[in-house]
């Protein structure tokens, strides 16, 4: 029987994987608790004590617990520690879905970050946009800044592809340096 797995390159070991280029370092962020909150975001803000707006594209998030806005009625809540809120429908008008296993997170920093962003998207990183969901490297991603670094969330199934793309982008940045 043909082994179709050979058609795809193996995913890197995210614990140790890094991309280094002049002025640019990329690595994976592991262990984050990620929740999708969908529906009426006002009661979510009241019950969770979190700000209900969330950062948009290239917006600046801070701290161990924050939210990125994905749509008019959807937030991605990210936390270093598990959040004490049950998954499922809440009668106040919103649903909580655990998505930690579904999204791979990457983090990049360095003075060449703008050159990296310019290769990934046509969106102007200096212009605000309400949603952090955007097309990056040809795939759907959630992109914002966290404590001065760039964070990218992608579907886990696309993480190996994005890593390959980022390795090539870093190579191009190095060649242009």
């Amino acid at each position: 029987m043909r082994d179709l797995a050979e058609k795809w390159s193996a995913a890197p070991d995210w614990q140790s994987a890094t991309i280094n280029a002049p002025g640019f370092v990329m690595s994976a962020v592991l262990g984050l608790d990620q929740l999708l909150v969908s529906g009426d975001l006002d009661p979510w803000a009241r019950l969770s004590g979190m700000e209900g707006t969330g950062v948009g594209a290239f917006g600046a998030a801070q701290g161990d617990r924050y939210a990125a806005r994905l749509a008019r009625d959807r937030l991605l809540v990210v936390s270093n520690a598990p959040l004490a809120i049950a998954a499922g429908w809440h009668a106040e008008g919103f649903a909580v879905t655990a998505i930690s296993a579904g999204l791979q997170v990457f983090e990049a920093e360095g003075p060449a970050l703008d050159a990296f962003i310019a290769r990934g998207t046509t969106l102007d990183p200096r212009q605000s946009s309400a949603s952090a969901a955007l097309s990056f490297a040809g795939i759907s991603a959630i992109v914002y800044r966290h404590d001065g670094k760039l964070r990218i969330h992608v579907d886990r199934g696309l993480a190996a592809y994005l890593w390959t793309w980022m390795e090539q982008a870093a190579g191009h940045i190095a060649a242009d340096d």
Binding site: A71, R74, L123, A130, S131, A133, S140
Partner: protein, 88 residues
Amino acid sequence: MQLFPCPFCGPRDETEFHYGGDAGNARPDGGDVPIDRWAGYLYLRSNPKGAAREIWVHMNCGEFFVMERDTLTHTVLSSAELGGEHAA
């Protein structure tokens, strides 16, 4: 490349959007809809030269909206969220 205005996100690359058809092309309702009404809904398109009202969806945030644009000049005239009801 062209920028389309998502009512929620603002200007985004046209590749983030998907066309949803003519605005106002409401699905016929009921069991006694004449066959030519179904045919019109399914197959007939206005295909205007000039100003057009169309349904679009921003794939990244899932916003459905009505966009008015000029099919000749590609000028975007307006965009507005649908708000739950089918745009007439």
